[in-house]
């Protein structure tokens, strides 16, 4: 991998700043204020779930809540509501954990489910592009902004939550945190310990939208047109 023109470029910056080049030993200072730590501080998972539910109205996202036993039924209803025939989803151990794998098996007459498969190459994208529904599990859920965080990888392609017409995120209650601060801290801590971040980290808050024509809000532009979050207790 190449890095071109770096020395000259950075030497010039150092000289403009009136000092020698800094190549090591720079530490972030202690910031004088840390308001990001205070938001929803001390809230428990149920309180955060309420914050999330409320914010889903702002981001045009349907919010549903159920438990492990009820998930299959809620999922089925949601897919039906989206007239879902072709579903694309991640190759995720949580399908087993939440009983979703079993549901797919039972519904195989009605639903065509494509599980992301690295061996299938670009075919995955082609299917996702045709799919009615993309289904994923949230890795970290940000209550304040109604955001599903995805660490995309070879079993969990970015296209799943992007190309289909609609988007369903299953949110395990344990993934709820107050806001983006906690997600950023988690990624930073891992990085500081030498664990590289995913090549794609996606923070998704509801369906795609635009206000570029006369400032009218249009929900559903390039990404999914509709979104549902299913919180699982």
């Amino acid at each position: 991998m190449t890095i071109e023109n770096r020395e000259e470029f950075l030497n010039k910056l150092a000289s403009r700043l009136g000092r020698e080049r800094r190549t090591e030993g720079v530490e972030r200072p202690q910031w004088s204020v840390t308001p990001q730590e205070e938001v929803f501080k001390g809230m428990n998972q149920d309180e955060l779930a309420e914050v999330l539910e409320k914010h889903c109205q702002v981001i045009h996202t349907t919010f549903k809540r159920t438990d492990r036993a009820g998930l299959t039924k809620v999922l089925q209803e949601t897919i039906e509501g989206y007239e879902g025939k072709l579903i694309v989803t991640s190759n995720d151990p949580r399908h087993q954990e939440f009983g979703v794998a079993e549901f797919f098996e039972e519904a195989r007459e009605q639903l065509d489910v494509h599980v992301w498969d690295p061996a299938a190459g670009k075919e995955n994208q082609r299917i996702a592009e045709q799919a009615d529904v993309g289904l994923v599990y949230s890795d970290i859920t940000l209550a304040e902004s109604g955001t599903v965080t995805l660490f995309n990888n070879k079993n969990n392609g970015r296209s799943i939550s992007l190309l289909p017409k609609t988007f369903i995120a299953v949110i395990p209650k344990s993934t709820l945190v107050p806001r983006m601060t906690q997600a950023a801290q988690q990624i930073h801590r891992a990085q500081a310990q030498g664990e590289d971040c995913a090549s794609y980290v996606s923070f998704i808050s509801g369906p795609s939208n635009s206000a570029d024509i006369e400032m009218n809000l249009i929900v559903g532009v390039h990404g999914p047109i509709k979104a549902t979050y299913i919180l699982v207790d």
């Binding site: 071109e4 700043l17 955001t147 801290q185 808050s205 795609s208 532009v221 390039h222 990404g223």
Partner: protein, 475 residues
Amino acid sequence: MSIKLGEVPYKDRVQTGIEDDFMRQAVSSAQGRFRNGRLTQAAELGNWEDWRELGSEIRTHTLQNLDYYLQQLSDNVARRGGHVFFAETAEEANQYVKNIIKKKQAKKVVKAKSMVTEEIGLNKALEEVGAEVVESDLGEWILQLDEDPPSHIVTPALHKNRQQIRETFAKKKGYTGSDTPEEMAAFAREQLRQDFLAADVGVTGCNFAIAESGAVTLVTNEGNAEMVTSLPDTVISVMGMERIVPTWEEMEVLVGLLTRAAVGQKLTSYITAITGARLEGEIDGPEEFHLVVVDNGRSKILGTEFQSALHCIRCAACINACPVYRHIGGHAYNSIYPGPIGAVITPLLEGYDDHKELPYASTLCAACTEACPVKIPLHEHLIRHRQIIVEQEKKAPTAEKLMMKGFAKWSSSPGIYNLSAKMAKPALGPWTKDGMIENGPGPLKDWTDARDFYAPQGQSFRAWFKQRQKDGETS
């Protein structure tokens, strides 16, 4: 395109803006909505000043150690399988990207909205080597089809109405539908989806690069940046060299400030951090990733009294607060960076010669400074620009120079001054109505175009005061 939009003189641009009723109405309503959004978000947080302080501290620290963080960033991008090119000029940046396009024999390039690629004129450069360039942000796509420059850095097509957009779609893309925003957006979705799938190369800007990981963070609502970075096999991100943060923790704070200050959202629908090339077994994302770090005049600002102008996170809160922008619109600034921040950085990046009027396109009311989420003292920078223009560059607007010179001569001679004070009233008589001048002649015209002028009273203050004293003595 470059930073500068064209050759039309400042006064004519302002006049065009002022006469464009639709644009002024659109700008004023957009300003109101964006401003309310920002204020609502700030009120909800309750401690907005702490957030601004934090944003300011982060930007200050990062810029003071810019060489260190850019080195860390580039090392990490390379470690994650990406290439990094440091470009001192727009030409160098464009040449590098052109070479990739040629090497890849790319026919189609899709782009996500990016101010820095507008700044360096990348689209034109790519068309020179025969690539079709497609802007994918809805607003940018409309402008591209209509060959019109952006007028706002967040909603670039703000100055266009729906009928104009429908005509453009019909003329350029054979659109036959109505002018409802939903239908036109659905048409754009369908058209651009094909472009995303067919593109050989994706080009993005960069909201915040994260030094500790080598990641590039992109902020959108439409999901177009995600398409541009997920589908093509080659992705090129172009960043202004100052668009960097040390770690994910600072990225998070600044993204929250950006989305709140820009559009009043807690976060936009999509915040995506992409790092290097795709990993083994991954299907989405590029197999070849390039990061182009652009100086293009920014280093001239570093180490000067204007350094904080580089703290800008391109939220447009200052633009949305500015009473002058409200009336003249974005194109009057003749820069891809309009409004207060544009008036500060355009002369810094391109010199005073072509942009000496911009620091005067301000009432110095400081609404911009108050709105800025990273506390850039914008109006103070504008005052300093004016000082430099007058004192060092000797480039004060001609009318101001003549007026000052004339005033000095005229007012320093009591005889002439007294005479003209007496003469002014009868001389301006023909333009005076009920003691006001609504449409003055000559040099007065600039003033009376915008507001009325009190007609002279026929005696100077001194004469009046003397008379008053005399009256006082006799009574």
